[in-house]
Amino acid sequence: MDAASAAIRFDEVTLGYGRRPAVHHLHGDIPSGSLMAVVGPNGAGKSTLLKGVVGTLKPLEGQIRLNGPSSEIAYLPQVAEIDRSFPLSVYDLVAMGLWSRSGLFGGISAKDRTKIEAALAAVGLIGFERRPISTLSGGQMQRALFARLLLQDAPVILLDEPFTAIDAKTTADLLDLVRRWHAEKRTVVAVLHDLDMVKRVFPKTLLIAREPVAWGDTLDVLSADNLLKARRMVEAHDPHAHVCQRSAA
C-alpha cells in the first residue's frame, strides 16, 4: 500500500507507560477512508493506541505517521474524562467543535450558528441548547459529543468506546452518523466491545492484546482461534522482563 492512501501508518510502534509496553510492535497502515474497529480484552492497549495517534502519548519506539497535521483528527475519549459539573451549556459544548476554525478569539458567524443547529438536529438534541451539561443523561451527553465531532469536520475520527453504557436507540442513531462519515470517505477508527456490532458495521478490524493478534477483514480477524489467542493475554507485568530485542527498523 502506498503512503499517499494511508491515513495513519504504524511503523513498528511500541506505546506504553514507564518502560512497560501497552501496545507492542504494531506495524501496518490504516488506509484513508476505512472504517475500522479496534477490539481486544480490557488492558489490551486499545485506548493507548488512540492516544498515540492523537499524539498525547509519545511512542516508546517506532513512529506513527499521519497523512496530514494532527489537528485534523477528531478524537472522542471515554466518557469519564469530562467534568460534567462545570457550568457550561450544551450549545457551548457543541460549538467548541468549531475550535480549529474559530481558535482563541474568532467569533461565531451566522453560518456557524446554522452549522451548530444542524449538528444538534443530527443527534436529536434540539431543545437542549440552553441546558447545562450537568443535567444531561449519559446517552444525551454522548449525543452532544457526537454533535461536536460533526462540527470538527475532520478527515480522521477516533472513537474510544463510544457506545459503552448507551441505550439501543441512541446507539443506532449514533451508528448512523458513523456510517455517514464512512460514506463521506472519512477515516473512522472505533474501539468497541460489541463483536456483533463490529461484524455488522465495520468492514476492517484490528484485534489487539498488547501484541497485535490479527488485522484485516473483520470476519477473518474475529475467528474463534484469534479470539482465544487474544483472551490468553497476560495482563500482569513480568517483574523479570528482559529488554525487548526486536528492532524498530
Binding site: 498525547t56 483528527i73 474524562e81 467534568d83 457550568p87 457550561l88 482563541l104
Partner: protein
C-alpha cells in the same frame, strides 16, 4: 458644604449621610474605596476560575507563598512598594510555576506539589525574617493598610485589575475548555499549558495587589468569597464573574463603612462583609441555595 448628620431635616437624609459622608469628607476613605473596587474587579473573575478549576485552595496556598517573598523585599529595601511587590511576585510565580510544571509532568497532583512548594517557601521566608529579627512594620505585610493607600499603590492595583480583565478575556476559551474537557483541548490546540501558567501568574498578581491593601492572609478572601457567593446566584460563567465583581465591591464598601462607624480594623471588616454575603447566598441563592433545596416546591409534570 458639609451638613452634619444631626442637622439633617429628615431621617432619610441622615441614613444617606452615614453611607455617603465618610467617602465625601475623608480622602483616605476615597482612596480605600478606589482600592477595594480595583481589587474586586480583578479578584472576582480570577476567583470564579479558581473555583471552577477546583483550585480554591491553590489561591490560599499561593497567598502563603507570597509572604516570604514580600518579607525579603521588605528586609532588603524597607517598606518600599516596588521591592515588596517584586519580592511577592517572584516568590509567588516561582512556587506557582514549579508546582504547575511538577503536576503536569510527574504523577504528583497539583494540590500535593503546591503544598510541598509553599511549605518550602514559607519555611525559607520565616527563616530569613528571623535572621534579621521581626518588626512592627511587618504587620503591614500580614494585614495590609487599606486605609493608607498612596498614589503608587492605587496605580498598581488599577493596573493589575486592568491587565487581569484583559488577559481573562483573551484566555477565556482555553480556560473554560481546559476545565471541562482538557483532552479535547489538547487534541485541538497546544494552548493548554501556557494558558494554565498565565492563569497562575494572574492569581499571583492579584494576590500581590491584594496584600498591599488587605495583607497576605486576607487577600484571598476578596478572591474566593465573592466567587463562591456568586456561584449560588447563576450557572452562567459570564454572569458569575459580573456578580462576583458586584459582591466584591458591595462587600468592600460595606466593610469600609463598618470600619469607619464601628471603629473596626478595615481589612477584616471587608472580608467579614464578604463572608456575610457568602453565608446569605448559601442560604437563599437561587442556584442551589439551602432554602431552595429544603423547600423546592411541588414537582413539575415534565
Amino acid at each position: 458644604m458639609r451638613m452634619s448628620a444631626s442637622a439633617a431635616p429628615h431621617k432619610d437624609r441622615s441614613v444617606l449621610d452615614l453611607l455617603y459622608s465618610p467617602f465625601s469628607e475623608f480622602e483616605f476613605m476615597q482612596r480605600a474605596l478606589v482600592g477595594v473596587i480595583a481589587i474586586a474587579l480583578g479578584g472576582g473573575p480570577v476567583g470564579v476560575f479558581l473555583m471552577l478549576r477546583r483550585m480554591s485552595l491553590t489561591g490560599d496556598a499561593m497567598a502563603h507563598a507570597i509572604l516570604p517573598g514580600a518579607a525579603i523585599g521588605y528586609l532588603l529595601a524597607g517598606l518600599s512598594l516596588p521591592a515588596m511587590t517584586f519580592g511577592g511576585l517572584a516568590a509567588g510565580v516561582i512556587v506557582a510555576m514549579a508546582a504547575g510544571l511538577v503536576s503536569r509532568f510527574t504523577s504528583l497532583k497539583e494540590d500535593a506539589s503546591l503544598a510541598a512548594f509553599y511549605l518550602l517557601s514559607l519555611a525559607l521566608g520565616v527563616t530569613i525574617v528571623s535572621l534579621r529579627g521581626s518588626n512592627v512594620d511587618l504587620l503591614h505585610v500580614l494585614f495590609g493598610t487599606v486605609l493608607a493607600l498612596d498614589d503608587n499603590t492605587l496605580l498598581l492595583l488599577a493596573s493589575i485589575s486592568t491587565l487581569t480583565v484583559l488577559a481573562l478575556a483573551a484566555l477565556y476559551r482555553p480556560l473554560v475548555l481546559e476545565c471541562v474537557d482538557p483532552i479535547f483541548l489538547r487534541s485541538v490546540s497546544r494552548s493548554g499549558t501556557p494558558t494554565h501558567l498565565i492563569f497562575l501568574g494572574l492569581v499571583v498578581m492579584n494576590l500581590v495587589g491584594g496584600f498591599h491593601a488587605l495583607g497576605t492572609l486576607l487577600a484571598v478572601g476578596m478572591m474566593m468569597l465573592p466567587a463562591t457567593a456568586a456561584r449560588f446566584w447563576t450557572s452562567d460563567i459570564t454572569m458569575m464573574m459580573i456578580v462576583s465583581v458586584l459582591i466584591g465591591i458591595v462587600s468592600g464598601i460595606a466593610g469600609l463603612l463598618l470600619s469607619f462607624h464601628a471603629e473596626l480594623p478595615a481589612g477584616p471588616a471587608i472580608i467579614l462583609s464578604a463572608g456575610i454575603v457568602y453565608v446569605a447566598s448559601l442560604l437563599i441563592g437561587r442556584e442551589g441555595g439551602v432554602l431552595w433545596l429544603a423547600w423546592p416546591g411541588k414537582h413539575l409534570e415534565a
